[in-house]
């Protein structure tokens, strides 16, 4: 995995080392492999549901690289598998979530990919769109109040979430109080079946920033390095008292919304195929190989190790028991709960 110095000048690596670039690629491939595994398990009838994030690999791996583990806070949404992996979630935890096993973060209570880990700085979320945005702002307020300089909150959402009133209220509040937070919109152009053109009156989410009084920036969401760069700059600004930023990464949702959705009812195969040509995963693989960051052989090894990891995580998680009926009443309140039966 040694880089050819001559290739260095051909691409803008934004200060990322070879090791970091490969780490990003690993997150992207792992993201896709785990996700495809979820769909496969669903087709096999082993799990009832999986949600998809193909097309989001670059923005998520890039943004994760701008996240400082042990310091920053991530308030994600349910389509952030890659981001969660990128900040330290393991494949095993992902599989526990898919299988809804007792050792899952939520004890098998939530849909897949709704994690909660204080260790990782990963906030619990519900499936309700934009409900997490105000939580992220509250956490950022706590950081500011505690004068915890050098820490920031990264919160993510899709384009559809920007239409929610709670999103507006939250972004507005963050601007008033110059909070240490980055609002990262993963604009994949589709909210289940609703295209961006039916979601908002103009197509650029970042243009809303000026109306709140914060910087708005846009990046190619298929380019992990570009996504890293804009997120890093915004997170650094947030960490050092510069206030919030609205970042928009333009990507695309290649799959249906979830295993319960059939996107053929609302968009053509041709549209998806056209966008697939720009698929960020093979594109980034090619870039790193071309630039000599990674040899073809090393890439094959990387993929094989990811597949092995996914298989192992799948088998291990599947063997873990489900939650028990008596878990129904646990952790509703602190302490024992005597329901009115």
């Amino acid at each position: 995995m040694t880089a050819k110095p001559s290739a260095e000048s051909k691409f803008e690596r934004q200060g990322l080392t070879d090791e970091q670039l490969v780490a990003m690629l690993r997150v992207m491939i792992l993201h896709r492999t785990l996700e495809n595994r979820g769909f496969a398990l669903n087709r096999q009838g082993k799990i009832p549901f999986a949600s998809a994030s193909e097309g989001h690999e670059a923005v998520q791996a890039g943004a994760a690289m701008a996240f400082v583990r042990g310091k920053d806070i991530l308030v994600p949404y349910y389509r952030d598998l890659g981001l969660d992996l990128g900040i330290g979630l393991t494949s095993y935890e992902v599989m526990l979530s898919l299988f809804a096993r007792i050792d899952d973060h939520s004890g098998g209570r939530q849909f897949p990919h709704h994690y909660a880990s204080k260790k990782l700085g990963l906030y619990t979320i519900s499936s309700v769109i934009a409900a997490q945005t105000s939580h992220a702002v509250g956490a950022a307020y706590a950081l500011k109040l505690g004068k915890e300089h050098g820490r920031a909150v990264l919160t993510t959402f899709g384009d559809g979430a920007t239409s929610e009133g709670e999103w507006h209220e939250s972004v507005n509040f963050a601007a008033i109080h110059t909070l240490p937070i980055v609002f990262l919109c993963e604009n994949n152009e589709w909210a289940i079946s609703t295209p961006l053109s039916a979601q908002m009156g103009q197509p650029d989410v970042y243009k809303r920033a000026e109306g709140y009084g914060m910087p708005g920036v846009v990046a190619d969401g298929f380019d992990p390095i570009a996504c890293y760069a804009v997120t890093k700059e915004a997170m650094d600004r947030a960490r050092h008292g510069g206030g919030p930023t609205l970042v928009e990464a333009k990507c695309y949702r290649f799959l249906s919304h979830t295993t319960d959705d059939d996107d053929r009812s609302y968009r053509s195969r041709e549209e998806v195929a056209e966008r697939r040509k720009d698929d960020p995963v093979p594109k980034f693989e090619r870039l790193l190989v071309e630039q000599g960051v990674l040899t073809p052989g090393a890439l094959d090894e990387l993929k094989a190790s990811i597949l092995a990891e996914t298989n192992e995580a799948t088998d291990r998680a599947e063997a873990v028991p489900y939650p028990r009926p008596e878990d129904l009443f646990s952790r509703l309140y602190e302490g024992p709960w005597e329901p009115w039966q």
């Binding site: 509250g138 956490a139 509040f173």
Partner: protein, 334 residues
């Protein structure tokens, strides 16, 4: 008659809320207050008057007019270790935050299997009899008490306000703290000095009696007591229970009293259909039907959306000590 002593002082309910919030801010710098007009205005009832001067704008946060985010931001603060006390200016304005209260705060612990918790208080003035019209007078407790994960407190005496607000602030789970706005300045009482806690979920027998159990909360506890005292002069003995919390609800206290008096009258300001009284009636019917000597009765507001502004409309909506006394007499004589 409330008399101040060396270890207590006489406060009204506004002063009790204010004094308790003040102590909480003073004792714990994790406590922050956020809401509309809580800063320089000091809340529309002057509950947080001058707090901003002492505790600063960072802890006494004048929010934009955005109730969903007032609660949602408090959820995030709580998850990050602060002790937020969110204020909804009037309970009538709480609806945009319904999702954050019911869908988020009440489920945070459960959905993360205990990893994250949401220790926060949502305070809001509710209730009528103040010419508040359709949008400054509603009771909202029945809309929320259906929700596991939430605690709902409705104190009506200054000493209870302090003890329960302390309990709510200390509580590891989200608490909706409802303050009847007509009692704010009307009701005065002795409040012990120093920090004390009244457990959430414990009712209080405000007047002992043997012929009828009256269960109520909020402003109507005071009116029920007035009516019960009147009946005492007529030789009838009525027990008045102040629920103080509607979730969790004190089943033991209700059943104990009902098994003693063998008659139950539930009184609340909210309308009857699907109200707090419906749950109490069902519970007592399940647990103590054969201990009853009379059908359970509910005295509640007319089934209309809210009380109107014009005086005759408000009077027709609200009960009164006289109407309560009538219902009590009928029950005792049954």
């Amino acid at each position: 008659m409330a008399v101040a002593t060396s270890s207590s002082q006489v406060l009204n309910n506004v002063e009790a809320v204010r004094a308790t919030l003040y102590e909480a801010l003073k004792n714990d710098d994790k406590v922050v207050i956020l809401g509309e007009d809580v800063g320089s205005r000091g809340n529309v009832f002057l509950i947080t008057k001058d707090f901003v001067k002492e505790f600063g704008t960072e802890r006494i946060i004048d929010t934009p007019i955005a109730e969903a985010s007032i609660v949602g931001i408090a959820v995030g603060m709580a998850m990050e270790g602060l002790r937020p006390i969110a204020e909804i200016q009037f309970a009538d304005f709480i609806y945009p935050s319904f999702n954050q209260i019911v869908g988020e705060a009440a489920k945070t612990r459960y959905r993360s299997n205990g990893e994250y918790t949401c220790p926060m208080v949502i305070r809001t003035p509710y209730g009528g009899g103040v010419r508040g019209a359709l949008s400054h007078s509603v009771s909202v407790e029945a809309l929320f008490y259906h929700v596991p994960g939430l605690k709902i407190v409705v104190p009506s005496f200054p000493a209870d306000v302090k003890g329960l607000l302390n309990a709510a602030i200390d509580d590891p789970d989200p608490v909706l703290f409802l303050e009847h706005k007509k009692t704010y300045r009307l009701i005065k009482g002795e409040v012990p000095d120093g920090h004390y806690v009244i457990p959430i979920g414990k009712a209080d027998v405000k007047k002992e009696g043997s012929q009828l159990s009256v269960v109520s909360y909020g402003l109507y506890v005071h009116w029920a007591l007035e009516a019960a005292n009147q009946l005492e002069n007529e030789g009838m003995s009525v027990e008045v229970i102040d629920l103080r919390s509607v979730r969790p609800m004190d089943r033991t206290a209700i059943l104990q009293s009902v098994r003693k008096t063998r008659k139950l009258l539930i009184i609340h300001e909210d309308n009857k259909f699907g109200g707090i009284g419906a749950e109490i009636s069902a519970m007592v019917a399940e647990e103590a039907l054969f201990d009853l000597d009379a059908p359970i009765r509910r005295l509640a507001a007319p089934d209309v959306p809210a009380m109107g502004y014009a005086m005759p409309l408000e009077e027709a909506y609200m009960s009164s000590p006289a109407k309560m006394a009538d219902a009590m007499r009928e029950m005792v004589k049954f």
